[in-house]
Amino acid sequence: MFELSEEHRMLQDLVAKFIDRDVMPLEKAVLAREMSGQKSALSAEEEEVLLGKCRELGLWGLDVPEEFGGANLPTVALIGVYEEQARTCVPFTFPPDSPNLHMLMAVCNPEQRKKYLEPYARGEAQSAIAISEPGAGGDPAGMITRAVKNGDDWVINGRKIWVSRVPQADFVIVMARTGEGKRHEGVTAFIVERGTKGFNIEREIPMLGGQRTYELTFDDCRIPGSQLLGQEGRGFAPMQLRLTVRRLQIGAWCIGMTRRALDMMIEHAKQRVTFGQRLADRQAIQWWIAEAAMKIHACRLMVYDAAAKSDAGKDVRTEASMVKLYGTEMATETIDHAMQTFGAMGVAKELPLQLMAQKVRTMRVYEGPSEVHRMVIARRLLQDRR
């Protein structure tokens, strides 16, 4: 195992302080919004204040290359950052969101770099990505949205669903079928800018955890050929790269969420007395605490291992699947145990545990459901054996 460098540990300390002092105090407001049926989000003013502090502290563009003004940190340095961030149920991440950044870095040509990647990397532009369709979710290779070449332009027709961050997105990366190829062959990535004719937001879909996704339709949506990303018919691989980045991030988020649940569980178990005994003195609770601590340790080793391999340029798709699967199941279990330890308080809307439970429930579905990851891991093992 490698050891995290001194600077990267100091970065994690910095983020931990920032989360504790500046973000944690906003939990109450976020929980109140979710309780009243609103989006569990920060207000524009709250977000503005945090973004200002992030700029001051250099917590911006952490994995953005230096040529675009970023800190160009390796993945291993970001794991601790994600871990600290996820200790709170306040939805706040340092801009720009990493997965699309890495996809754009892999596929943009020089003009697209200037027009889309650079403002995105500076945190001035927002993006979304449309992959899933009503008939193709966990199996995106089954998508049927089609783009047809017309002169120098492309015309997109189809329907996308479960797309996050649409209203604030300046552009959406749309995955569509172009060639004759089956499954993942013949899938191409396009950039569709906000307000393009034929690009419609059909409806907003409220999700668990006070989150929102959107259903989109493309109705003869015409875009110039310059908005094709990467190579025609080869969009699946960079999309996969993006998913790998997110899956490692999810693993690290799950460590943070689980740590919070464990901390709350320990604090409560030491105070709460029932039938003349502290909860902390009961075996059931002790076993939950031990399980959680052991799994956090295991998950952290898994995430750092995958991150280090990824930084070394290795293909970590299998590791990323394992990390995403293990992390979300660990967090699900521990948050549930923490809720049970808290009794009625654990299921009260005032406490962050229930919001964390809702969020991790969605995490077991998005970026590939647990069962698909199990299938993928097993298939690779089966294929590798003679």
Binding site: E6, E7, M10, L11, L57, G58, A71
Partner: protein, 249 residues
Amino acid sequence: MKILVPVKRVVDYNVKVRVKADGTGIETAGVKMSMNPFDEIGVEEAVRLKEKGAATEIVAVSMGVPQCAETIRTALAMGADRGILVETDAELQPLAVAKLLKAIAEKEQPKLIILGKQAIDDDMNATGQMLAALLGWPQGTFASKITIEGDGITVTREVDGGLETVALTLPAIITTDLRLNEPRYASLPNIMKARKKPIDNLKPADLGVDPKPRLTTVKVAEPPKRKAGVKVGSVAELVEKLKTEAKVI
């Protein structure tokens, strides 16, 4: 003006301190260590003085095991310019630290030395005062406000009765109290820059100081557990118990 800021590596303030099983000290193996919070206030004050143009250079000093370099690095990330590590495995007591700091002060010739009023591990509250005595410099301890005017410095001190203001002539010693300032976070660019700032590595012998302890620790024990209280039925009973049993009124 050059400012010297001693920084001590202590058990992090969030960690519950545990006494070693053999009673010789406290457990530090595998425990999170950080800069003494009062020293952090000292670094912050020095950085503010530099930002105001009152100081030109900040030198952070730490003493002890090699990992004290990390504490210096934190000070460098907050804005100190360079570091001095006095490396030793020996147990360092306030008098030894004061003697080592005196030797460094004679070499570096700072106009101001800002220390924490005490370290949160042993709470000795002694090094600053001893250093002032050894150097023969004026001291302003428990500072909650400092103002530099020409060759002098005005220090507002938090004393038991309230606030006391003293005027000192530079060079001088300041020890910080909690309300002097709120230390900043070390920003990411500054964390990265800190890597390139120099840290000098010295041994006590290089400074001609024998850090041998003058005090012997006989035993370290946890404070006694708090006993369960009693419920009283009335105010009259409470007053009676305070008079006759607790004998506090």
